[in-house]
């Protein structure tokens, strides 16, 4: 991969640079180039971390940590086109590490929907449906959750998601199937009620 300096001048000129050029510039400790990488991918990483943690307060910190890993050694990304996958993988591993030490019971959102009872005021609240589903997703085993998030929410192809998770496509499909089955079981009868909420919304 040829490394050619795009521009070391003003920050605006980095906007059109390719990921490969930005990574190369980041290796030379050019903050402006790294800021453009951050701008391109932080939303994706944040979304995935948020889904994996069920909206935990540490989402922000874990997302930052993933980018700090990249800044510390941009050369770790062997192919620039796989940068997003690399970031998502690092962020997912960080989530697993952090919440292995800190049990999921601490999830802030979990308490709000733990008993599944619906108050009259929230009966038709779509946000409530969302929180219930998010909580059910957060309760899935780590790898199943990761597969579901990448494919269903990030709209990655099975091949791309499998590459991100460093597993075979067959293994990914198996994880997805188990995740869906697990979600159906977790939502159980509450799922029908949540569907009813969606149907009755104005």
């Amino acid at each position: 991969m040829a490394i050619r300096p795009v521009n070391s001048g003003s920050g605006g000129s980095w906007q059109d640079a390719s990921d490969a050029d930005l990574l190369a510039a980041s290796s030379r400790r050019i903050e402006l180039a790294f800021a453009v990488l951050l701008q391109r991918y932080y939303r994706d990483v944040y979304r995935v971390v948020w889904r994996l943690t069920g909206g935990h307060a540490d989402t922000d910190d874990v997302t930052q940590e993933a980018f700090l890993r990249l800044w510390a050694n941009p050369g770790q990304v062997r192919e620039a086109k796989a940068l997003k996958g690399w970031l998502l993988r690092v962020a997912s591993n960080l989530v697993m590490d952090r919440f292995r030490k800190k049990p999921m019971e601490e999830l802030e959102a979990a308490d709000e929907v733990a008993d599944g009872r619906v108050g009259a005021d929230t009966q038709h609240d779509v946000d409530y449906v969302s929180r219930c589903v998010d909580t059910a997703i957060a309760d899935l085993p780590d790898r199943q959750k990761q597969a579901l998030v990448l494919v269903h929410f990030e709209h990655m192809t099975n091949i791309a998601a499998a590459a991100t998770m460093e597993i075979s496509v067959d293994a990914l499909e198996s994880l997805l199937a188990r995740a869906r089955r697990g979600l159906k079981e977790k939502l159980g009868s509450q799922g029908q009620m949540l569907l009813g909420v969606l149907e009755n919304r104005p």
Binding site: E31, L68, V133, F153, K184, L187, G191, L194, L198
Partner: protein, 123 residues
Amino acid sequence: MTGIEREMTDLELDRLLAATSTPVAPANFEHRFMQRLRALEPLSNVVQFPTKRAVVSRRVFAPWPLAAALAASLVIGFWMGTGDPVNNLIDTGLSATALNDTPTDFGPAGLDDLLSLGSDTAS
């Protein structure tokens, strides 16, 4: 509610998944990250080991007495190697014997000497 619980279909699950809200990153995320990045600079790949006092104490490993002893042995070696002082000590008796024409009587040295000594006294 009918009270009959049936399993959710794939289509229904997809509807629920589609209804989830999309998380949005905080607006000032980039700014806060760059601040954190600058606070961490300069980054280094060198792993810093915790500072530790040397385990070897000066009492155990004292270089000056050892160096002095080595130097002294070197000087003595040269002094002995020049020849004269040690040779003089060793050769004093022999050289005196060589200069003297008369054989030196070292006393009886064996059975033959004792026998001859006995015959001399008898005669």
